[in-house]
Each structure stands twice: as structure tokens, then as C-alpha cells.
Symmetry: C2
Subunit: 300 residues, 2 copies
């Protein structure tokens, strides 16, 4: 399974980066191949200063070795080895009317002292962070997620949609990071689902990504915007940074276990502002966004 | 002691903000008075878009009530009340040749169920974060700190200077946030020092602040700079954000105990950049800064 899923994310990285390069039309991805001292490595692909994408990364990694201490504690085991591989992407567009998107799909195996697999699971999801909210974009993104989920189980979309709203909650701001999408973890083999079923589900989600996002980019990329709207985007990007550095378990795990810093922090936006005590005007487009972030809603 | 020290920081806030307004010459501090639901409150003073200071805050607060859970855990007590007051400041200048500065001086009391003081202490310090390093500025800042310390005990400066280097360490980047200064905590009454002695020491440090920083501002504020040098400052400000949101105990404590978010996060710089994998050219001024941040040195 690990070889099969790694092969899948390798292909998906190629598909996503080549499509995004066509969408951008100006910049191309720069690839960095890196090696992890304790085992494994990754392929980081970063795009900067494009016509559409101000900054973004589509990274894969495959790491293995002894379980880091934080994971031993989390899983309540004394020792053991692990394997993990996944694809992570974040795209920060220039135009404040084009939303930021994040996605991650991953697979994990844990071994006992004899090297046998003790447990194995899939995790991941994707979520959208608009700066100006178009209801039809939110509906399109969620509908694409739901359609892919529904092919596997009618409970998946409602469950993973709620997980996503819960996870990407910027608690200290009392608001969501964005308008959500899907978040799932510990998708193991069960009576109802074989590991093969899990693979089919996660890859279906991965395959749906470009359809969930690219049409929104195409629709909004040409809207002209003011300096004040760009400022609003950069201020909201500050909330993205706050979430990733204060709350995001994946980012903090990477920072505290000697991960490759530049690959982890490629998720941070290119230009960000923090102003003191900014509140949008009542009934403005900016206020409409905040109101939805404070009370996540059902889109489909 | 709590009334005496609060009176002191109230006066110090006035002295510092009025002096900084004169230094800036354009912008003035905007005051927000806030109340903490569980007891106490604060006076936040923020300056933005000045001639010298792009953004900054000089805040005082005085809070009391039941010990928050994180503190009960940290101090190993079941229950109890506390009182804490302090002054916190951060200044982010426009000109990349003028360093950012941070300072904080505080006093803490803890009570038992009968309301008697169980323990009480002072804490705080100040540290400098240059974007371009002038050795003579670092020496001036540290010499001012050392002179104030030496009036109280010859061990204070070396000890508190090392504490500062240890505390403001951006572990995931393997570099210091800046060139340090002083950091001290749990300055309690001992055989050698009465609480009155501790007060005299902390207020001596607080009183030395303007002398440690303002001459550096005056000396560097007129240097002209390029867009590339401003970019470098904004990229380095990203490291400041990373430290404050990932490692700084005070910030995380505030975010996780329902502190006043806008007062806590006024420490974040106004405009920040994250670029992928930036390294300065060998032997450049930027490389000289990094080399000192990687290996904190003795300045006096």
C-alpha cells in the first residue's frame, strides 16, 4: 500500500503542478529535492510571482524511521518505527477575489519491534479561504467535495465537513480560518471498509481537487480590485499565519520534530499585514465574510 | 507593593509614550482602555503610520482573579487567586536601519484560600532586533543594560543576558530573534535581596529603557534605504512573527487564556513577507546579521 500510495501522490503532484502552471500562464514551479537525515525525503515544488499565484507550493514527502517522541507519546507506545507519505499544497493567489486553497492527503504506517505493521491509516482533506465571499464558489467547492464523498458513503461528507469546520477554527479569534471543506484522519481498515476502499476514497478526493478549485480561479481572476481590497486580503492573510503557527498540528509537529522548515512554512502567505483592531464596516462585503467565518454554514 | 508598582508602570507608560511621540514627530499614540471580565483590565496605547514608527504599542495591564488552569498546573497548586501587572512594549520602525525593540516589566502575586500572599515576584527584560547590525548600537544597548544591572549586583548582567539569549531563541530556525539584552523572572525576596531591592532593580531597568533605545533611533533614522533593504526587513519581521506565535510563552499564554487579543498581538509587525528559501549573499550585510544571530556574542 505504501508504494502504491506514494506512486499515486507522485503522479498527482505532476498533474496538479502542470495544470496550475497552465492556469498561471507566467510562472513555473521550482523543484527542490531534499533528504531527511533520519530516513526519507521529499520533493518540494514552489511557485512565486506568477500572473495568478503570488506564492504556492505543492509538496510530496515520504519519511520513515523511529517514531519521534511526540508521536510515541500521542500513540502511547514505548518504541516503534513508522512510515508516512503525503502531498500538501497551499496556493496564495494575487487577486483578493480568488480564494486561497489548502489540501493534504497522506498515509501512515506504524510497525512493532519485529517490523510488522501494527496499524495503518489515511488522512487529509481540503479547505478554501476566501477574502471576499461568493456563495456560488463556496457551493461549488463543497459540492465537488460532497459528490466525491457520496460515491463512498452518505455519512462521509457531513462528518468530514464538520471535522473541517472544527479543525480549522482560529480559537483565539473566535472565527474559522476559511469556509471549510473536508478533514478526515485515522481512516483505518474496518468491518465496512477495507484498506483498499480507503485508498479508493482518498484518491477520489485527491482526483477531485483540481475540479473543486480551478473553475473558481478562472471565474474570479479577471476581477479588478482596489488597494483597499488588497490590504484586506493581506490583513486576512495574517489570520492564516496565526492559525498555521498557533493551532495547526501539522505545522507545529513539523517545527518541533526537525522537519524541513522551508517546505513546512511554504504555507505562509507572501505578503501579510497586521494592523491594530481592524473591523470592517457594517454591511460591507468584508463584514459579510466575517459573519460567515464566525458561524460556519451548510453550503450543500 | 502591587499598588506601588502599578503606579510606577502608569507613570512609565506616560513617560515612554510622550518621549516616543516627540521622537516620531508625526503620529501620536491612540489609547484603548479595556476591562477583563474575570477582573482587572488595561490601557493599550498604539502608534501607527508615524514618521519613524510604522507600528508600535506601549501597554499596561493589571489583572487579578482565580488562577487560570495553565498557571495552576505550572505552579502545582489546586486553587488560588493571583494578581499580575506589567508594562509591555514593542516598536517596529519604518527604516530597516533602525532596530525593533521589545520590553516588558511585570510583578506577580499569588494568594492562598485565605487571601494571604503565598509568593510574589518581579520579571521582565528588554531586547533588540536589528535588521542591519551596527556593532556600536549593540554595544550601546547592552552597555546601558549592564550599567543598570551593575548598580545592583555584578552577577545580574551576565546571568540575565544569557537568559535573554536562551529565551529569544527561534529554535526551528536555529537562530536568535535578535541580539538580546536582558531577561529575568521569579525575582523573589531572598536572604540577599528584599522585595524592596527587587523593586529598585526592576524600576532601574525600566528607567534605563529610553536611554538604551532612543539614541540608536536618532542615529539611524536618517539613513536612506533601497527597496531590497526594506524587503529584507519585512522578511526578517517574518521571523519575529514566527518566534512570537510559536515560541513566546507570554503570547501563547495570552492567546490560550482569553487575553485581550488586539493588545497581545500588537507585537506583530505591520507588513511582513515570507519568501521561499531566502539566503543572503556571502559577506553581505545581511549575512553578517545572520551569522551573529546564529552565534550570540558578548557585546560588553
Amino acid at each position: 500500500m505504501k508504494n502504491k500510495f506514494y506512486k499515486y501522490i507522485e503522479n498527482l503532484q505532476n498533474t496538479i503542478t502542470s495544470t496550475l502552471e497552465k492556469v498561471d500562464g507566467l510562472a513555473s514551479f521550482k523543484e527542490d529535492i531534499w533528504v531527511r537525515e533520519e530516513g526519507g525525503g521529499g520533493k518540494t515544488r514552489v511557485i512565486e510571482n506568477g500572473a495568478i499565484f503570488e506564492k504556492g507550493g505543492v509538496n510530496i514527502s515520504s519519511v520513515h524511521g523511529e517514531l519521534p517522541e511526540v508521536l510515541r507519546k500521542q500513540f502511547g507506545v514505548e518504541e516503534g518505527n513508522f512510515f508516512a507519505c503525503g502531498l500538501s499544497l497551499v496556493l496564495h493567489p494575487i487577486n483578493p477575489f480568488v480564494p486561497t486553497v489548502h489540501a493534504n492527503w497522506r498515509y501512515f504506517e506504524m510497525y512493532n519491534a519485529s517490523g510488522e505493521i501494527v496499524t495503518q491509516w489515511f488522512g487529509g482533506g481540503q479547505d478554501l479561504t476566501p477574502y471576499y465571499l461568493f456563495d456560488e464558489d463556496a457551493v461549488h467547492f463543497h459540492q465537488t467535495c460532497k459528490t466525491a464523498c457520496d460515491r463512498h458513503h452518505p455519512d462521509f461528507y457531513p462528518k468530514f465537513k464538520k471535522n473541517c469546520d472544527d479543525y480549522f477554527w482560529n480559537a483565539h479569534r473566535n472565527e474559522a480560518r476559511g469556509i471549510g471543506g473536508l478533514f478526515f484522519d485515522y481512516l483505518k481498515e474496518t468491518e465496512d471498509f477495507s484498506l483498499e476502499n480507503r485508498y479508493d476514497f482518498v484518491t477520489e478526493i485527491g482526483n477531485s481537487f483540481l475540479n473543486s478549485y480551478v473553475p473558481i480561479v478562472e471565474k474570479r481572476k479577471g476581477i479588478s480590485y482596489t488597494a483597499a481590497q488588497k490590504d484586506w486580503q493581506e490583513i486576512r492573510r495574517g489570520r492564516y499565519v496565526e492559525f498555521n503557527l498557533v493551532h495547526d498540528k501539522g505545522t507545529l509537529f513539523g517545527l518541533k520534530t526537525n522537519g524541513r522548515i522551508e517546505s513546512i512554512l511554504m504555507s505562509l502567505p507572501p505578503k501579510v499585514q497586521w494592523k491594530y483592531d481592524v473591523y470592517p464596516e457594517e454591511n460591507s462585503d468584508e463584514a459579510k465574510l466575517i459573519s460567515v467565518l464566525k458561524n460556519p454554514k451548510s453550503w450543500v
